[in-house]
């Protein structure tokens, strides 16, 4: 697939990452994490996984099975911005489903989630929508994270504002909700 070739991580970078962690227990996970981070679209592309496999002599099937096991590994290109909605019980009872519904108005998003996908990225690779089982911030439910920043007691109005802010050209980095 073309898109993978374009997005693959430079093998020199992979070599560096691999030699940095060589021989450490559990190195495979760390290597995979850093290679994903080195990818412009923050995912493990097929070519890079193949390269890790051939270099480390770990079968590709094993690398793939690790990648699919942990939710931090992405097998698809990720958007420039990420919005994560908590679907934990505390957030769920305080209306996080409504927040997710507000986001799934993005074209194609609802279909993806209805089909059982756990993450969705817009075609222009601007925004990724995901859910998490619990942020460990339940006292502040419902909780949403935008590019790693936690927002608490989020309302429907506010999530729309956050989404719009990301879609605008001149994003306000320090957006305040109240």
């Amino acid at each position: 697939m073309n898109v993978n070739l374009e997005n693959q991580v430079d093998t020199k970078i992979i070599d560096e990452i691999m030699s940095k962690h060589k021989g450490k227990p559990g190195e495979l996970l760390t290597v995979m994490e850093e290679v994903q981070e080195a990818n412009d679209y923050k995912y493990l592309d097929e070519a890079s996984m193949g390269y890790i496999s051939s270099k480390s002599k770990v079968p590709l099937s094993q690398i793939y099975s690790v990648a699919t096991f942990y939710s931090f590994f992405n097998l698809k290109p990720q958007g420039k911005h990420t919005i994560i909605v908590c679907r934990g019980t505390a957030c769920h009872t305080k209306g996080s489903k409504i927040l997710l519904d507000d986001l799934t108005t993005l074209p194609g998003c609802k279909d993806a989630f209805d089909a059982g996908e756990t993450s969705f990225t817009t075609d222009d690779k601007l925004i990724t929508i995901k859910t998490v089982a619990c942020f460990g911030q339940c006292a502040l439910a419902p909780v949403v994270a935008v590019d790693g920043v936690i927002y608490s007691n989020v309302t429907s109005e506010q999530i729309k504002k956050l989404l719009e802010n990301l879609q605008e050209e001149n994003k306000d980095e320090n957006i305040r909700l109240s």
């Binding site: 996970l29 931090f72 934990g88 505390a90 009872t93 619990c134 339940c138 006292a139 790693g148």
Partner: protein
């Protein structure tokens, strides 16, 4: 019991004491056996959920003959509704580091790990700074001990101790068969003590003040205090340290919103207690107390009468279906079946008797699933379906 018991606040864990250097130095100058006996007489039990006696765990691991052993602090904190470990690590990190090192002294380990939940990446910098300062002091007093952070990659099952080892070894986090237990065959096949963050913080209190201070809190079989993560329909969500053994009625009196219909004790893998059972339910470990004793990792979620128990159960089952590692059939298939089943009953496609079939399935999972995840699905399932049957039906 419950009529005479009042909510008793305690303040040990977060009390800011800048004496970790003293506690460390004094403790590692005591013989391991003495420290083990201190822990045993405190009757501290694990705060990660399972409630295994901590002193005994350290004792059996100390008796293993091996040059390499490990101490692991379980900071995976993935149970929805639990957020106490994060708070401990950010507010009193040195207590935890000190406890890890003392455990190393007791069992004969030179390396400790903190397995930090991936979602808590923001704790990493501060924690690494604390570790540097800590290791610097260890060097100064010629105590050879290293602590490293291992970041999780977003899988709830990795909180289970053997799955955690697998994950640290760079594999899929799938639970192992037990036995062998971590005390003889843990991380990298070496004898390992793995304790919850809060458990370790309590050992600090015990080594500092002696076991009696701890033992005098709580009730029989459930000694000491415990952090509770309070959330849901409550005017004051947050973290509270309370003595164990309180009755749920007293708890609701304090934290409820005057309309509490039920409390989920222990998160998705715990039990739902309906209002009519508040008075007879105590929070602590199993024992011969009057009424029912419910253990908990500390999650207390309150629901008021506006909440649908069907939605709550649906949410839990979605969680389990998502987080099941899929290794064993009862859990992999069971979670899906229960989830589909309650939806079918709700939509009227199956009749109410189908709920009884599912209760049997949940019970079977309890005995046949390989690890605590699959075994505990039945806890919330049965307690919700039995107590709120009418809400499950179309």
């Amino acid at each position: 019991m419950s009529t005479s018991y009042q909510l008793k606040r305690a303040d040990f864990i977060f009390k800011n004491e800048n004496d970790w250097e003293d506690v460390l130095r004094k403790s590692i100058s005591r013989p391991p056996n003495e420290l083990i006996n201190e822990l045993i007489s405190s009757e501290l039990k694990g705060r990660g959920g399972a409630g295994f006696p901590t002193g005994l765990k350290w004792k059996v691991t100390s008796e293993e003959v091996n040059d390499v052993k490990y101490v692991i602090c379980n900071a995976d904190e993935g149970e929805p509704g639990t957020f106490k470990d994060r708070e401990i690590l950010s507010r009193v990190p040195f207590k935890v580091l000190t406890a890890i090192a003392i455990c190393g002294h007791v069992i004969g380990a030179r390396t400790g790990f903190i397995y930090l939940r991936g979602e808590y990446f923001f704790l990493q910098n501060e924690l690494n700074k604390a570790i540097n300062e800590f290791e610097y002091y260890c060097k100064e007093i010629k105590f050879d001990f290293k602590i490293k952070i291992f970041m999780g990659s977003g899988a709830y099952i990795c909180g289970e101790e053997t799955a955690l080892f697998e994950s640290m070894e760079g594999k899929r986090g799938e639970p192992r068969n037990k036995p062998p237990y971590p005390s003889s065959f843990g991380y990298m096949g070496k004898p390992t003590v793995i304790n919850n963050v809060e458990t370790l913080a309590h050992t600090y209190t015990i080594f500092k003040y002696g076991s009696k201070r701890f033992y005098d809190l709580g009730v029989q079989y459930s000694r000491g205090s415990k952090l509770f993560s309070v959330s849901g329909d409550t005017p004051k969500p947050g973290i509270y340290e309370l003595e164990l053994g309180m009755s749920l009625a007293d708890f609701v009196e304090e934290f409820g919103d005057d309309d509490t219909k039920a409390v989920q004790v222990g998160g998705a893998s715990g039990f739902l207690v309906p209002r009519k059972r508040f008075a007879e339910t105590n929070i602590g470990f199993q024992g011969k107390l009057v009424g029912i004793s419910l253990p908990t990792g500390g999650s207390m979620m309150l629901f008021n009468s506006s909440r649908s128990m069907f939605n709550v159960l649906d949410n839990y089952l979605n969680f389990f279906a998502e987080e099941s590692c899929g290794q064993c059939t009862p859990c992999r298939v069971g979670c899906q079946q229960l989830l589909k089943g309650i939806k079918a009953v709700k939509r009227g496609e199956k009749n109410a008797q189908y709920l009884d079939k599912m209760l049997k399935l949940a019970e079977t999972m309890q005995f046949t699933a390989k690890c605590g995840l699959g075994q505990s699905v039945g806890n919330s399932f049965s307690s919700i379906v039995e107590n709120f049957r009418e809400e499950m039906i179309y």
